[in-house]
């Protein structure tokens, strides 16, 4: 077992523990923090793949911006501890069971494939792609994927404007 494998197991374990903690903690602040831990572990996994840029962006965008906003909202609303009964209603229970079964089937499928080594062999060419440096990503974004990139930014802009319009109107009404 080399250093890379040890680090992979470490990051993978931390990521899984964090993910389980997100849904097991009763208090939303602790859940949000567990999610931050998961994001960090995933950034570590990206680093192991050599995708430095993606790792940094993962921390900047998810851990640094989005989760801070989550915390901000949780603190502002001062959400208390959630009770289990309130969190999972009777109607959602059936839905949850169906989704759980689907997830279990998917897990078993992946596990069997990994044991047969077919999935790993199939995924090998994709993971071996060399274009992971910032320079390569930038070049791809501004040449091959220019249209998707611009469309994505337009969607984000539309969402931004939508939020501002909604907030503006309500504040005018109250005054």
């Amino acid at each position: 077992m080399n250093a890379e494998q040890i680090l992979f197991i470490l990051f993978g374990a931390v990521s899984l523990i964090g993910a389980v903690a997100v849904i097991s903690f009763r208090h939303p602040i602790y859940s949000a923090l567990s999610l931050v831990v998961t994001f960090f572990a995933q950034a570590g996994l990206f680093l192991l793949l050599g995708a430095h840029f993606v790792a940094a962006v993962q921390v900047i965008v998810y851990a640094g911006a989005i989760m801070v906003l989550f915390l901000f909202v949780i603190m502002l609303l001062n959400l208390g501890t959630l009770s289990v009964k309130g969190a999972i209603g009777g109607k959602l229970k059936g839905f949850a069971i169906i989704l759980g079964i689907l997830l279990a089937i998917e897990g078993i499928y992946i596990a069997t494939n990994v044991l047969n080594n077919t999935a790993i062999a199939a995924a090998q060419p994709a993971t071996a792609a060399p274009n992971t440096t910032t320079y390569d990503i930038g070049e791809l974004l501004f040449s091959k994927y220019l249209l998707p990139f611009e469309v994505t930014s337009l969607i984000l802009l539309a969402a931004l404007i939508g939020v501002i319009v909604l907030v503006k109107r309500s504040s005018n009404d109250s005054i």
């Binding site: 840029f53 940094a56 900047i60 640094g64 801070v68 901000f72 603190m75 502002l76 440096t133 910032t134």
Partner: protein, 395 residues
């Protein structure tokens, strides 16, 4: 760097880590002393001058006092997060310094060792990522204290840090475009020996915006609304005492030192100064380059203190207006102007002039719009010296 033998790499890394971490902590002590003496000087009083020569051992006395105070944890706090928060403030401040190149290189026993702990490709992104985490400690400390003043301080702080982080990130883009690298060492090397080649002249508006955002990120005056004494007692660290308070305190100074070091690397030419860094052999040139870097950082730190004891605190709406309506347009314009002029002319001089002119125009336009848009004096407290017009004067 890559062709070092493994043992040399490990030993040199450990030495560098120990050196820079201790330098940072000693720097914090020196800064606390300097701040108290300089503030005393600016207010025409003495400041601490009893412990040691000119009071230079005062921070040690303070540290001993903090360590021996009772480590009080109030009953009404959320204990795990209350204990975690000071560490989460301190750690981001400490680990950022790892990627800052604090000198050129030293040749010891035939091995060329660069004066930088971790020479990574995504240096700037790493700094931005770690800086964006600094807010967690403040927010968690505020929330875990279970105190209304603390919570208000934490909310203010998180809103402020999120707003100014945008400026912080965008102000660097111009520098990146001209260097075409995220490598901090490459950026420092690309700036050359003479002050008129350094980035702060080429990207003057971005430099000012970056420095301002850096002040905001450290939560210091004139941006210390998170701990405005008159309104919030001590803000997010109201409930903290003894060493836990000291950790918040140390983190603030550490943020200042690291912020200054990053600014020096990005905008003020790193360890370059009129070719002085090349004098004197493979060993001494490294030492001299470190000395130059240290001196530049120290001068910048003095500016931090200077600003703190000169400028009054912003009002909260002014703070937000300033961040979103001044700094953001200035940095965005700077990006467009830098990119366009660099592609067309390829001359740093033209880019520099264009940036300065564009920055001036944007500031005038925004200032004009704000003055026109300002509420009528009847609605505003007319005796308040910090109306939006006065804010423009500060800018």
């Amino acid at each position: 760097m890559e062709n070092l033998p493994f043992s040399v790499l490990i030993i040199s890394s450990i030495v560098k880590i120990l050196f820079i971490a201790h330098l940072l902590i000693i720097g914090v002590m020196a800064m606390i002393w300097a701040e108290r003496r300089v503030s005393g000087w600016m207010q025409d009083r003495l400041g601490p001058n009893r412990v040691g020569f000119q009071g230079i051992l005062q921070p040690i006395a303070d540290g001993i006092k903090f360590l021996f105070k009772e480590d009080l944890i109030p009953d009404h706090v959320d204990k795990p997060l209350y204990v975690l928060a000071p560490a989460m403030v301190l750690i981001p401040a400490l680990v950022t310094i790892a990627v800052v190149p604090f000198g050129s290189s030293i040749t010891v026993l035939g091995h060329e060792i660069s004066l930088q702990v971790a020479d990574i490709n995504i240096g700037i992104l790493y700094i931005l990522a770690i800086t964006s985490l600094g807010v967690y400690g403040v927010v968690l400390g505020a929330w875990a204290s279970n105190n209304k003043y603390s919570l208000l301080g934490g909310l203010r702080s998180s809103a402020q840090m999120i707003s100014y982080e945008l400026t912080l990130g965008l102000a660097i883009i111009g520098v990146l475009m001209l260097t075409s690298s995220l490598h901090l060492r490459a950026i420092a090397e690309a700036q050359g020996a003479y002050p008129w080649h350094w980035n702060f002249l080429i990207h003057f508006p971005a430099f000012l915006a970056f420095t301002t955002a850096m002040f905001a990120e450290t939560n210091r005056l004139p941006f210390d609304l998170a701990e405005a004494e008159q309104e919030l007692v001590a803000g997010y660290h109201t409930e903290y005492s003894s060493m836990k308070f000291a950790m918040f305190f140390m983190a603030e100074y550490m943020h200042m030192i690291v912020g200054s070091a990053v600014t020096v690397t990005l905008f003020l030419g790193g360890w370059h100064f009129f070719g002085l860094e090349n004098i004197g052999g493979p060993v001494w040139s490294g030492v001299i380059s470190f000395g130059i870097f240290f001196a530049k950082t120290a001068i910048f730190l003095f500016v931090f203190i200077w600003v703190r004891w000169t400028l009054p605190r912003f009002r909260y709406d002014q703070l937000m207006n300033f961040g979103w309506k001044f700094l953001l347009p200035v940095t965005l314009t700077s990006i467009v102007v830098t990119g366009t002029l660099w592609i067309i002319t390829g001359s740093r001089l033209v880019v520099g002039i264009g940036n300065a002119v564009a920055g001036f125009i944007v500031v005038s336009i925004v200032a004009g719009l704000l003055v026109m848009d300002a509420p009528k004096p009847a609605m505003q407290d007319s005796d308040n010296p910090l109306t939006p017009t006065a804010l423009n004067a500060i800018e």
